[in-house]
């Protein structure tokens, strides 16, 4: 599962507690794009930067 990030040019990968940058050479980003293409939608960003509460 992914969540939109409050920070620049990345998405939050919930299971891995990680930020994935929007770089086509990043295999995690490739997996995210594939996930999107399958009709999935990321969770909305937290109202504050709470990805790591």
């Amino acid at each position: 599962m992914y969540k939109k990030s409050n920070y620049n040019n990345n998405v939050y990968w919930v299971e891995q507690s990680s930020y994935i940058p929007f770089d086509p050479a990043n295999t995690d980003y490739q997996a995210y794009l594939k996930w999107l293409s399958e009709g999935n939608t990321p969770l909305p960003a937290d109202t504050t930067a709470e990805e790591n509460k």
Binding site: S5, N6, Y7, N8, N9, N10, Y12, W13, Q16, S17, S18, Y19, I20, P21, D23, A25, N26, T27, D28, Y29, T48, A49, E50, E51, N52, K53
Partner: protein, 349 residues
Amino acid sequence: MSIAISGSTITFADLTTQTTAAGSGAGFKNRIINGDMRIDQRNAGASITQTTANDFVVDRWNVTGSVASKFTAQRNAGSVTPPSGYTNYLGITSLSSFSVSAGDYFRIMQPIEGFNVSDFSFGTASALPITLSFWVRASITGTYGGAISNASQARGYAFTYSVSSSNTWEQKTITIPGDTSGTWLTDNGVGIYLIIGLGAGSTFSAASGSWITQNYINTATGATSVVGANGATFYITGVQLEAGSTATDFERGPIGTELALCQRYFWKTLQPVQLDGYNVGGPIAYQYICNPTTMRATPTVSSNFSGQLSATGGVTNISVHGFQAVTTPTAGGVFRATYNTGNTISIEL
């Protein structure tokens, strides 16, 4: 004082000889990183159980399979004595007697960056032959297999080698002709996949000894299945892939160099970074953290914080050179969070 050069052999005045592989310059003949399995940033020698994902064991080497939990992988598994001159190896131990079906595969793999094999000139009429060499120690004798493939894994070459004595280190050499067809990346994508097969069915196997267009070749048809015997062991080290038709001595880089090569793809924080601030209207505290070396591409960065005081943590402005750890206050006054030891920065192929 004189020397004589004949083919790939240099003979010195005292009649000692040195053999070099044709086409390989000094200093970086081995295109395998961590071929002697010294670097293990993730697991520090601990065992992992194989899953259906590409899980990295020692640096640059990953393992996977079509069915989870059929083997474990560990640096120096079984604690046997490595081959002379080596201190580490990658060990596989089968967890069951699994009979592979057509669609099954189990493997060790190193994806090699295109920049590092561009001189092989694969996919052109000038493609060079390459030679793979390694030490292997297996509990089961027989014919084993593996494969070389391109980034799309639509073009591959299956190879075989024989293990003639059980539980005995044997050095193997396999020369592979250069592939004049197919698409081979020469940038920061996957140039070559090197696959060491641990068992595969017909879908992921191919006849050995020729380049073919077939998807996802993992090994040679009929190769020994390590996962097919409960408790079977397969150990490997001293892996070298070089240009030319001759296997030369293993190129052992300085530990700092080898670590830096590994950290182009993965590193993890070994010290905590505490970020403090005082909120009088929405400030954010940043700390820039440099990568130890320029990374292959923009990495995925984990974001584990501790010790939060009226703050949350995150990561932003990720680049090949570094990133910013961030704390954002959730209340007025003092706020704090610590970016933990053990966070991972990864841009594996």
